[in-house]
Amino acid sequence: MAVDSSAAVRRVPAPLGILLLLALLLLAGAVSVMTGAYPLQLSDIVASLWPRVEADPLAQMVLQDVRLPRLILGLLAGAVLAVSGALLQGLFRNPLADPGLIGVSAGAGLAAVAVIVLGSTVLSGWTAFTGRWALPLAAFMGGSLVTFLAWRIAHRQGQTSVATLLLAGIAINAIAGAGTGLLTFMADDAQLRSLTFWSMGSLAQATWSDIAVAGPWMLLALVLAPLLARPLDAFLLGEPVAGHLGYSVDWVKRAAILLAALGVGAAGAVTGLIGFVGLVVPHVMRQLFGAGHRMLLPASALAGGVLLVAADAAARVVVAPAELPIGLVMALVGGPFFLGLLLRNRMV
């Protein structure tokens, strides 16, 4: 076969890519801090961030209690969703895998809807016990529990069958979906609206205490994920090859599922369900930087943060003074973008 030198793959060099993403991150962060329904001047922002300068108390409040927690939660959630997507896509060797596949979202959704609908009746004990954290805690536990269940089903004699895991995920998704449907049926109008808003995701209610509670888990997932980079690279050649290369195949599977469930569960608990980040971001990063996870994971983390922060800024201003749920913005922007990408690649 003749060697076609033009077929050599063009990629963004890693250091340049990271620099670009960091620059984008700064830009998105700045835009996010500057935009919102409440008009803030640059001087307000500088004054609010400098403790010694006298600042307009309202501006300070908007900045410190609303925009900054939103920014930080958006960065963390975006990063962890994208990294979880990358982990699972590597694990399943399927670029279409997303955290929904192993049941995290379905489990979290079912638990959250249960709290919304049954919180004042059957689950009043739970809501009384956990108070303000009833919903996020339930969502986190639901997500982890369902993932664990799917994994238990797929785990036999010290080995995890990825195919069984996928099938178990599908079955569990269906069951959780039915449960959610049943609860939705029982819900009154008010509850229905709450659960619709939850399932569309939002950063609007971000508080520092949300970050204090969910942030460490997201950070943990982000910090540990790069440890899986090399084994996941090997996984892309197939599980047996990863084994031949000396990796403990089952340990890698367990760790990847655990980290993804941890990250997505923690993020979903405080933001609601936000789709597309976990699917689109790793996909785009793979096109730019290749499939190697040592670059893919950090790049996905940065790009996921950028995307969610930018989407949140858009969600704030598009219908101001009202706000769009961010999940909706992601689907509105992400869907067509992804389609365009597919079409473009098909033509090349």
């Binding site: 076969m1 060697v3 077929a7 050599a8 793959v9 060797r93 670029p95 090399r230 690279d233 090997a234 892309l236 050649l237 197939g238 047996p240 090859v241 084994g243 031949h244 290369l245 000396g246 990796y247 403990s248 793979r286 096109q287 290749g290 499939a291 190697g292």
Partner: protein, 282 residues
């Protein structure tokens, strides 16, 4: 002739058996492989060659028997240490992700502390894939992919001091004859550098040309093993493959298998056990 060997076999198989449900895939298989030899693993489709290699690679757990590598039970090896002295090339590897050929080869370094660029370049050059280094693996032809995968397997053990073990499952099935020669002459060279190689092959003459010894398998059992000229006999070929063939010894010193024409005019092919045989029994 037998090259000089360490006192212990590199790979020792004792009474190996695998049963899945009621079906016996391998049974009471006993053989040794020594450092410095290239063993050709022959047998018709379904004879259990791949099962044996997957078993030796630790992918499948045997139901009975023992496998030892350098005198140490396979299960007792730490993963990492084993990976440094034993490379495995499966029949098929996934190539659906956008890795370049160079990245795939570099994966062979696995958990080793750092990748050695010189080794990588050398191995890729030896397998004539260096010009493909920056192409996506998925865009390569089957033969190119196979050589890239083999490069990955070689890189994995290249810098390890001998003895080193390679388990290769049809590593040349997609290659053209020139490249098959390239790969097998490289493998033959490697045996002299302290490798023991077990290579499952379909091409009898490729095996005849390069293998020091042959293991002949049928129906999950080792039917015959020994030096190439002793194993590659018309009687064995008839018994194992139901193949009518002459075996000539060439001036080069290795045997050549020449299948006979079938009475029905078609070419003789290796038959699967159970296929209807139109000819009367010989």
């Amino acid at each position: 002739m037998m090259p000089q060997s360490p006192p212990l076999p590199l790979l020792s198989i004792r009474e190996l058996g695998i049963t899945v449900g009621q079906r016996s895939l391998l049974s009471s298989l006993t053989a040794d492989l020594w450092c410095g030899e290239l063993v050709g693993l022959l047998g018709p489709n379904g004879a259990g060659k791949s099962t044996l290699i997957r078993c030796l690679a630790g992918e499948l757990s045997p139901t009975s028997g023992d496998i030892e590598v350098q005198g140490r039970a396979l299960k007792a090896w730490p993963r990492k240490a084993l990976a440094q002295c034993r490379g495995v090339m499966p029949q098929k590897a996934e190539t659906s992700f956008p890795f370049t050929a160079r990245e795939v080869v570099a994966l062979g370094f696995g958990q080793q502390a750092r990748s050695r660029q010189a080794t990588l370049d050398k191995v890729m050059a030896r397998l004539q894939v260096e010009h493909l280094a920056d192409r996506l693996i998925g865009t390569l032809s089957g033969g190119e992919q196979q050589r890239v995968q083999l490069a990955r397997v070689l890189v994995q053990v290249w810098d390890t001091p001998p003895p080193r073990l390679l388990l290769l499952d049809e590593c040349t099935s997609a290659l053209d004859p020139a490249q098959q020669q390239l790969v097998f002459s490289l493998l033959a060279e490697l045996t002299a550098e302290g490798y023991g190689i077990l290579a499952a092959v379909h091409d009898l003459n490729l095996a005849a040309q390069y293998a020091d010894r042959l293991w002949l398998m049928a129906e999950g059992q080792l039917c015959d093993h020994g030096y190439t000229k002793d194993v590659l006999t018309p009687a064995n070929l008839q018994k194992i493959y139901q193949l009518d063939a002459r075996v000539m010894t060439l001036a080069e010193g290795y045997p050549l298998v020449v299948p006979s024409r079938q009475p029905n005019g078609g070419h003789t092919v290796a038959r699967l056990k159970g296929d209807a045989d139109p000819r009367p029994a010989v």
